[in-house]
Assembly symmetry: C2
Homo-oligomer: 292 residues x 2
Amino acid sequence: MSEAEYVPPAVWTWDKANGGQFASINRPIAGPTHDKELPVGKHPFQLYSLATPNGQKATILFEELLGAGHAGAEYDAWLINIGQGDQFSSGFVAINPNSKIPALLDRSGPEPIRVFESGAILLHLAEKFGAFIPTEAKGRAECLSWLMWQMGSAPFMGGGFGHFYHYAPFKIEYAIDRYAMETKRLFSVADRRLGEARFLAGDDYSIADIAAYVWLGNLYRGEAYGDAATFLSLHEYANVGRWVAEIDARKAVQRGRMVNRGQGPLDQQLRERHDASDFDLRTQDKLEPAES
Amino acid sequence: MSEAEYVPPAVWTWDKANGGQFASINRPIAGPTHDKELPVGKHPFQLYSLATPNGQKATILFEELLGAGHAGAEYDAWLINIGQGDQFSSGFVAINPNSKIPALLDRSGPEPIRVFESGAILLHLAEKFGAFIPTEAKGRAECLSWLMWQMGSAPFMGGGFGHFYHYAPFKIEYAIDRYAMETKRLFSVADRRLGEARFLAGDDYSIADIAAYVWLGNLYRGEAYGDAATFLSLHEYANVGRWVAEIDARKAVQRGRMVNRGQGPLDQQLRERHDASDFDLRTQDKLEPAES
């Protein structure tokens, strides 16, 4: 191929053949593709998700809330297999019209409330329980700023760098350079902040940390996008490494990262979560690996 | 060039020559490049920004608040020329360590509070004044969900589609296809929502609309990325068009879109804003076009 001579048409049309690894689940049209209701469990919160970084934000916060004694945060976590198009069911779209995980149905009040986008779920739950978000004005503003920073950054790390470096069907130097630079810049931003403060919003661990940790942590540990940690020289960001290690050690984080995981070693996955005791059962036969 | 054979090196290194139109302002390293303090005016809020879509979010909300009678929302808006690297000054980085506009210094309380990321600024101000965000739980969750949807979407529209379709030094078919599809999907999501509700969060205009409008509106009107509106067949999204027209007509929006605009027709720009009367002066000689 010779990209240099490519001239886009006047009007773009959908060529289903040109979508890379995610061609089957990327569409230019919103809305449901099939009718199917979502399951509903016994708890106040119904989470429909998958253990991607964005999915883990929600399950980590639920586990943190339960671990901190907020018994009202009990939740059922249902696995949405995005490779099989579960996110395009009528039931899922009714809760998240954007067809992305995680999606939450909050049934703790007088009427059910839908919440979609991982950042909104974090904020909704933190406010509801008055936890993992600073209460004074300055700390709250700092937490919201870093939370929004993460929401606006992840598309460059995941949809940008991760896609072009690891998932795209061929390597495009310009795109890899573009997103490698931005991903390193984002690590540098976090590293400077974590050199002056223990956590992103200040002295206390907050939803801003949960949001950023799932992305930065996976990359820093070398668990995302092949050898991306080497490619990006992530060992340079020692403050990020200190912070990742501290959050890695939290029991609630370890539990949260397992939920809705349908692949990998059996002792690190829990396809669905309906009770705290489910973590003890995770190696039993009833928990079969998912296909995704 | 023959992209098909490109093999990334084991370790990425910064090649300053390969950055496209924004090479001079894209860096893999955070932090200040030079010492310079920011100017500070007389009002409670000091905004450091530029009339890009993200910058306009903040100025539109300030003008909406003032228009709704919230006199405490008076602000000084200072122009940050990102083409000249103003966002890398020590003063700017102290307010936004991510070196992006808009950045806000809230001096309305006992101690100054920094707020960065357009979504955080919108939420901070809406909460402070109790305006443009629903107060009941369901509406608030809907507003937060759509606000976060926008924050996570813009990088695909701007940094993705806009970059590869319009700004990149050459056209890459795969990248244009990828982001054209996603941009159309996002328009489709908004169009479906605006077919069932007057505004994104429901019956009332909110910060979720302000956040999405600046991006969707510019694209829909054909004012972004050359002939992108034709390329993406944006006329298909009639509900978005109805909503854009309704918001276009708001006087506060018209004022907000002018602020920190340093190019284009003189009667549509206001490089700095320090008083409501500044809008009346905008065609006078003292307002020279910026270089950016």
